[in-house]
Every structure is written in C-alpha cells, then in structure tokens.
C-alpha cells in the first residue's frame, strides 16, 4: 500500500521521467540522422515520425504498468479531464445544467429539511402536541383557564398541558422605556419547550400560591440589554408598573418560540409572568394557547380520542348555559406549526424534482450525442487491444468527473439559491433557524447526477458491445446512432412533459398572486404609518392623536387595538343577540377591536350605515358598538341593524377586566380582512377604547412621504409621557406585504423554477436537434442536390423536432390534469383546470420548442450540397 501511495505521489516525477526518456530518444535519433548528413529539420521530422504519436506512446507506456486502482483512477481522471477540456462548449452546458438541477434541489431540500423534517428545537419535540379549542365558527381558538383546568384534571394521555398568552408590555428597569412582548405562562409552560434556564429557575407550583411573591422570568436579550448580563441578577427585585417583582430566571440565548402564525405567539418574548390556572369561571375568556407533552408511548390519535371525551364532559358540565359545540382538537405540534407552508414547500420540492429530472435528461442527451459521436474512437481503441472493461471504466470516470464538476458548481448555485429563498421567505418561515445547505441531500443529488451522467454516457458503448467490431467501425455513425436518436426523442418528450407541468402549475400560482394583489382588503394601506404603545390613558391617547393630526403632512390620526393582518394576540369573544336561547349563547365568536373615533376614516374603511364613535361613547353612557357588514348580514339579514342590541364582552373598568354587557349597534362598516387577504375568518365588532382600554396601535394617514416621521412621532409621545415606549414604527403597507408573502414566495419560486426548466428544455431540444442535423448533413445535402428548397428542409427539420414534442405535450397535459388539483388549497380566484392557463401554456411550450428548433433548422438550410456530399 505504501508503495502504491508513493508511486501515486511520485506520479508527477514518473511523468517527467517518461517525458525525458522519450525526448532523449527523439533527440538521439535526430542527432544520429544529422550526423548522417540530413538537415536538422528533416532529421527531427523523421525521428518523430518513426516513434509515432508521442501522446499515444506515453499512454501505452502508462498502460503497460500494472493496474493499480488508485493510480489507474488518477490516470483515468487525468485522461477524462483532457477529453472534457477538448470540448469546452459541451463541458460548459453540461456542468451548468447539472449545477442548476442539483443546486436548486439542494436549496429547496435544505429548507424542507429544516422546516418539515428536522424536529423543532424543543425537548421531546416529537411528543409535543398543540391543543386547540373549537367553538362555533372558531376551530383554532385558545382555551380559557377553566377549560385548561378541566383538561388537566382529566387527562391521562398528557404528562403536562401548559398555556401561554402574549401581549405588549413595557420593559422594567432603568433607561429608555422599551416595549416588549410579555408572555403570561402557566407555571409548567416554559419547561415544556425549554430544557433548562440559562440562570435561575423557571416557574414552579409554588409561584401559584396566593401569597407567593411575584416572580418573573426574563429573556437572555433583556438580561444582556437591560441588565448588562449581570450574573447575580437572580433574586433581585425590579419595578413593574406600581409593583415590584423578583427575577427568578433567564431563558437561554437561542430560545425562541416557533408557533403557528395564528397563535400570535412571536418568536421572541422578553418577559414572562406566571398565571395560575383557576377553574372557577366556566365563562371566562379563552386566551391561553395550549401545548401539551404526551406521555411516552401515547400518540395524538389517542390524545384526540381522550380529548373528545373530555370535551363531552366539559359540555355536560356547563349544562344548558355552555357552548353546545365546544370541542378540543389535538395535533402534533410540529405539523401544526408548518401546516401553512407545508404544502407550498412540498410542491416546490416536487417542482424542483422536475427541474432535476429535466437536467438529468439534458445531460443524458448531451452525453448520448457525445458518446455516439465518439463511438468510432472507442471502436478503434478496442481494435488496438484496449479491453472493453477498461474503456467503460475510462468513460465512467470521465462522466463521473463531469458529475463532480457539476456538483461543485452546484454547491455555489445551491448556496446562492438558498440565500435568495431566505431573502424571499414568507413570515411563516421566518422563525426557522438553521436553514443551511444540507450536505446529506447535496450528497444524494450529487450521486444522482454522477449516476445519470455515468449511465447515459456508457449506454451507447454497452449497446454497441453486441455489434461486431469491424461492423461498428464502418457504421459507427449510424447503427448505434439510431439507438441514440430513439433515446434522444424519448428524453426530449420527457423534458417537454415535465416543463409543461411546471408551466401550468406556475401559471396557476402566478394568477393567484395577481388575484391576491388585486384583492380589496377593506382598507387602504398607502400612506398610512403605524406604531404601537402600551395601554395608554384615554386622555393621553386622545391628546396624542390631536397633536399628531396637527403635524405637517398628516391628514388624520387614529388608534386601533389590532392592526389588520398583524399578528398581535387576537381578541375574539362570544356574542349573541337579544332573545338568544341559552344554548346559542357562548357559541359563536367575533373578532373584537378597540378603536378611537376616526379609525375608519384614517384607514380608508367604508362606513356603510350609521355613525362613527364619538368622544362621549364611554362607560358613563349607553354602551355602543360598530359591527361589520358580515355580522350584520348574519344577524339581521334584510333588516336595519342600527339600534339593535348585542351581548358583547368589554372591559370598561380596565385592560382585560372583561365583563359582559348589552351594547347598541350604532354603525355598520365594510368587513376588513384581518387574518388573511384571501379568507374571511370571522366577523368583527368594534368597541370604543373607553370601554376596552388595551395596548394600541396608532395610525397616521399622511399626504405623502413625511420626512423624519418616526422622529417627530416619538417626540410627540415623549412630550406627553416620557415613560411610554414607542415600537414597531412602520408603514402599514409592510403588514400587507407580509400577508402576501406566502403567495408571493410560492409564485416567485415557482416562476424561477419554471424559467430554469424551460431554459434547460430549450437547451435540450436545441442540442438534440443540432446533433441530428449534423448527423443528417449528408442526407440533407442529397435532398438539396435533387432539388429540395430551403423551406422544404426547414419543414423537414421542424417536423422531426416536433415529433417528440407533441407526445411530450400530451403526456404533460395528462400529468398536469392529474397533479394540479394538489395546488387547490394554494389557489385564489382560479381553478386548477383553468382553460386559459392551459391554452396559454400549450402556446408557450410550442413557442419555446420553435425557438429551440429554429437555429438548427436554419443551419440545415445553409448546408452546401457539394460540401455535404464530399464528406459523406
């Protein structure tokens, strides 16, 4: 072995020595001839002629040495590299094709792997399940303390069930006020998702005791930012509002929440307060997002069965006053987190698989053409005594080398593609970290590429092994060429079919995106800026809005508790109209929004009937609400809703101090899309801020771009109360863009993939056709010699190129009909079998094929019969 290795490393010297030895021979011979009176020129020529082609002699000398695997391999690799270098055009196209196919695959799979396959970064992530409440029109609602209490009492399948609710709060401690996300968590919640705190401890049962001191857990970020990473922070007291709390623990640096987007649990929560689970109020508000850890050996199906019986018991507990349609849903946590992007990613993965197939078909095509063209060479070498095994291995090495170069290039392309995907990723993917180039899949795609190139590269040789050598020498160009051409046609047909499916799918996604762009969300985002402030006093807020409205360039200012399409913790609750039977109460829910007068005007919503709120719509007067047209239509179809009464939940005595009140409808506004641009999730009820104070988003409608708006806004807030932090300053259009991100992401990626696929198919068709035109030069020459005109030749070439394209188109059509229904969930405003989409893409494929066929066809018409026939 050592000897082999030494020889391998001494290869360079061996090559030099071989070179020197042969040079010595040629020079000796030359000198000899000169001595015999030949001219130097003639002597050298003769000496060279006698020894023959130096390269061949060298190769034979190398082959004369015994076959050591490694050395052989190196030799084959060198030979292969030389052969590849000899045709740079082929090399470039093949490498690029492979690189695009592998690179795109690797990038997409890296995302799929990080998001769908890799477990969430939580302890026992595979045993985590999300527990959702279904009541009436809500199927993914959070639970009330009462419900959680009941579940905990009864469950045997869950080890733990905990809940979280996130709202905005102000960071404690010294320095600038800062608004942060505050998580209210049950005492068992944090240990469900985090193995251990960085410092101190998480909450425990002792923190639920009525007389326990108020403890908080802070995030690593807050600890570093606000407390200078003080190692002795644990046990210190901090002031929160009027109270003081003890810091119990610090979460680890990389800890973050990866929750379903509709749970309104953001990735980074900076401050945690414990909530105790009080089972005394069956009608308390549902706000806790539940996560449970199944006990080992259990599964979500069993947990669901148990949950069905628990919900049955809860329904009976509440008796006639309870919601008759209360239900619990259990889903594996990870599945639920990715449920929105799952389909998009899998479809993209399928699409990119198609691209890889097309790349492979292309490379196979190129290699087939090349190998067939080289059949004469291989036959000659066989005749000279090279063993077939040796030849095949040689070719395999050459093609594997090609695959390797393609793979390396793919690494670069994959990296770039992944950057691009991450830059364009929708909000639903934003929380996933560790989306890196996946080397497992890179290895896999590498293998596919190498295998493809190797297999298709040697196919013609293996096919010709049955042929007689001399026969094959004579007919190298035609016999095996015919097998090659059949393959070529099949591959072109496959490329067209796959390309067509991608086109149809992309057409649907792009139309969907266009429809999403066109959708009327019920409000206007242009020139509206917003920022958030924690629960202000009414007077302060009112004053702030007046001051803001007076700023230059500002048309109006208003405030709302929940920006449309924003992910702030939702507020939704039950409502019922007068005379509702007890079982109808607590059964349907609407989104509730706290607003100040002027909100609808500022955001460009349409007040259909009645009036906006006024400053006097407070707790001292008749409680009033504004509802949207969806709710009005549902409750009082064909009737006037103004003046009707609804039982709603409000909190006139302070933030989150919910109580039920009868309120009078004073206005009807057009529905505003709140959760998604494309789905109407729930109707809305608007409550005056005085009846429902809470953290607010302030909206400013400007006449255009106002310079330094953020600065002047902050200045206005500080002017009134310098303890109030301002956060999330930004245009409302950003929020809308975020809501479109999923659709944009899908259509953008699909379009890129399809563009690549079409380009590849184009190259493939072009390559095959050029090759077949080159092969048929003689035939074309004869045709022209006996009177065929350019147009006839053109027709002939086009005809032969369209022969595989039409069956490809038909298979592609059938494949699309079978596959596009998978897209249904992602489409908006278009059906999978949309006729225009199909028609356009058939035309597109035909145009692409025509473009790819044109150049070779034109080249065919330029064939000079005289030249063509001479070489035939």
């Amino acid at each position: 072995m050592m000897r082999r290795l030494r020889r391998l490393f001494h290869k360079q010297t061996a090559e030099k020595q071989l070179d020197a030895e042969l040079r010595y021979h040629v020079e000796g011979q030359t000198a000899d001839y000169v001595a015999r009176g030949m001219s130097a020129e003639e002597a050298r020529r003769r000496a060279r002629m006698e020894i023959g082609e130096i390269e061949d002699v060298k190769q034979e000398c190398r082959e004369a040495r015994s076959m050591h695997f490694l050395e052989d391999l190196m030799q084959d690799v060198r030979y292969g590299a030389r052969m590849l270098r000899r045709s740079p055009g082929f090399l470039a196209v093949a490498v690029l094709t492979l690189a695009v196919g592998i690179g795109a695959n690797t990038a997409i799979f890296s995302v799929v792997n990080a998001v769908l396959l890799r477990p969430l970064p939580y302890p026992d992530a595979d045993r985590l399940a999300i527990v959702l409440v279904g009541v009436g029109n809500a199927t993914r609602a959070p639970a009330s303390q009462f419900q959680l209490f009941q579940i905990r009492q009864r469950t045997k399948e869950f080890e733990q069930v905990g809940g979280i609710w996130v709202t905005n709060g102000v960071i404690p401690g010294d320095g600038e006020p800062e608004q942060v996300k505050v998580g209210f968590v049950t005492t068992n919640f944090l240990p469900l998702l985090c193995a251990r705190p960085e410092l101190g401890r998480f909450f425990g049962a002792e923190d639920e005791a009525p007389n326990a001191p108020w403890g908080v857990v802070i995030s690593h970020g807050v600890w570093a930012r606000r407390f200078g990473s003080d190692p002795s922070i644990i046990g210190k007291s901090i002031r929160i509002g009027a109270n003081s709390a003890v810091i119990l623990g610090v979460t680890p640096k990389d800890f973050k929440f990866i929750f379903p987007s509709d749970a309104s649990v953001p990735a980074n929560v900076d401050l945690f307060y414990p909530v105790s689970v009080d089972g005394s109020d069956p009608n308390g508000p549902g706000y806790l997002h539940l996560i449970g850890r199944l006990r080992p050996g259990s599964n979500t199906a069993r947990a669901q069965a148990e949950a069905d019986s628990i919900s049955e018991q809860i329904r009976s507990l509440r008796g006639s006053s309870g919601a008759s349609n209360f239900r619990l849903y259990i889903f594996p946590f990870q599945n639920d987190v990715v449920r929105e992007v799952r389909r998009t990613l899998l479809l993209l993965f399928g699409g990119v698989g198609f691209v890889l197939l097309i790349s492979c078909a292309n490379v196979a095509n190129l290699l087939l053409a090349r190998a067939t063209g080289r059949l004469r060479e291989t036959t000659v070498r066989t005749a000279l005594g090279a063993s077939r095994g040796r030849l095949v291995r040689q070719l395999l090495t050459e093609n594997a080398l090609l695959g390797c170069i393609g793979g390396v290039a793919a690494l670069g392309i994959g990296w770039a593609a992944l950057r691009a995907i991450l830059a364009a990723r929708p909000a639903s993917l934003a929380n996933f970290s560790g989306v890196n180039l996946d080397f497992k899949v890179l290895a896999f795609t590498f293998a596919v590429a190498i295998l493809t190139s190797a297999l298709f590269g040697i196919a013609p040789i293996v096919a010709s092994s049955r042929l007689d050598l001399t026969q094959s020498l004579k007919e190298a160009g035609s016999t095996a060429g015919r097998t090659g051409r059949a393959w070529n046609k099949l591959l072109v047909a496959a490329e067209v079919a796959l390309g067509f499916v991608l086109l149809v799918g992309t057409g649907l996604l792009m139309r969907t995106f266009v429809n999403v762009l066109r959708v009327d969300p019920g409000f206007r985002a242009e020139n509206v800026f917003s920022f958030q402030i924690p629960s202000p006093k009414y007077e302060m807020l009112h004053q702030l809005l007046e001051n803001l409205a007076a700023l230059p360039g500002v048309r109006s200012a208003a405030a709302v508790s929940h920006l449309p399409l924003d992910s702030t913790a939702n507020w939704y609750d039950h409502y019922w109209k007068e005379g509702a039977k007890p079982e109808e109460q607590n059964s349907v829910m609407a989104d509730h929004r706290s607003i100040l007068p002027g909100y609808f005007r500022t955001i460009g919503a349409t007040l259909l009937e009645g009036r906006d709120f006024t400053e006097s719509d407070d707790a001292a007067h008749q409680h009033v609400i504004i509802i949207d047209d969806v709710l009005a239509q549902e409750l009082w179809p064909g009737e006037d809703s103004i003046g009707k009464k609804l039982n709603v939940s409000d909190s006139p005595s302070g933030p989150y101090q919910f109580q039920r009140d009868w309120a009078v409808v004073v206005g009807v506004v057009k529905h505003i899309q709140c959760h998604s641009l494309t789905l109407m999730v729930r109707p809305q009820i608007y409550v005056p801020f005085q009846l429902a104070p809470r953290p607010m988003s302030v909206l400013i409608h400007t006449t255009g771009i106002v310079p330094n708006l953020a600065t002047s806004v902050r200045a206005q807030v500080v002017l009134l109360d310098k303890t109030i932090p301002v956060s999330n300053v930004g245009p409302l259009s950003d929020t809308v863009a975020r809501a479109r991100s999923q659709s944009r992401f899908a259509s953008l990626l699909a379009a890129s993939l399809t563009a690549i696929a079409l380009l590849l198919a184009c190259v493939g068709i072009y390559g095959v056709l050029s090759y077949s035109v080159a092969q048929r030069t003689g035939e074309i020459g004869i045709r022209m010699a006996i009177g065929a005109r350019g147009a006839d030749i053109m027709k002939m070439v086009f005809g032969s190129s369209f022969r595989p394209i039409l069956p490809g188109l038909i298979s592609g059509f059938l494949l699309s009909v079978a596959l596009t229904p998978l897209l249904s969930d992602m489409l908006f405003g278009i059906k999978p079998n949309d006729f225009t989409n199909y028609a356009e893409n058939v035309v597109a494929i035909l145009i692409v094929s025509a473009i790819a066929s044109y150049l070779p066809a034109r080249r065919a018409t330029r064939v000079d019969p005289l030249v063509a026939l001479r070489h035939w």
């Binding site: 020197a20 030895e21 040495r65």
Partner: protein
C-alpha cells in the same frame, strides 16, 4: 509472413530480444532501439513506438531495473539493467525458444 502473424510473432519475441540486449550491460532506450535495428535489419524492424511500452512492461514485472545516469553524450538518460529475476526469465525464454526452434528444425528436417 502475413502482417498479422508477424505482429503476433513479434510480441512474443520482443520481450526476449530486449532482455537479451540488456543482458550485455546497462543500456538506455535509444541505444536498445539502435541495437535492435542493427541485429534485425534484414528480418524485421521493431516499431520504435512499441519499444517503450515493452520496456515499461518489463520494468513493471521486475525484470528490468531503471537507473538514471549520464550517457555517452553527457546527458542524463534512463538506463535499464537486468535484474536477477530478469536474468532467470531470459534463461527460461531462451530455453523454451531453443526447444521450439529445435522442434521446428526437426519437423522441417523430417519433411525435407
């Protein structure tokens, strides 16, 4: 002799001829080719291109040993030297050659 048969015949004898020439003392490739030309001028001509692969084959089998040293022209050249294994091989080949040659002679003699 037909071309093809001559080739086959050559392949078998070439190795032996080379070994024989090298047996006289270390010699470089060019000199071997010259010697071969001299010896076999009338009968056959070894294509120079096939001499070197043969040399490398013999070296690989351990019958020849390379040595780089100054040649008569004062330049570094690759000299080949017969190894012990090579000498034994040469002996074997010459023996079997002689046997065959005897046999052929006998047959030819008998016919005459």
């Amino acid at each position: 002799m037909m071309d093809k048969d001559k080739k086959e015949f050559l392949k078998g004898t070439l190795d032996m001829l080379i070994l024989k020439i090298v047996a006289f003392g270390p010699i470089h490739g060019y000199a071997i080719s010259q010697r071969m030309k001299e010896i076999s001028k009338d009968f056959f001509q070894v294509h120079q291109g096939s001499l070197y692969p043969a040399l490398h084959r013999l070296e690989d089998r351990g019958w020849l040993e390379p040595e780089w040293k100054e040649s008569e022209t004062g330049r570094e050249a690759k000299f080949y030297k017969l190894t012990r294994k090579g000498r034994k091989q040469l002996g074997n080949e010459m023996e079997s050659w002689a046997r065959m040659s005897d046999a052929v002679k006998t047959i030819l003699g008998a016919v005459e």
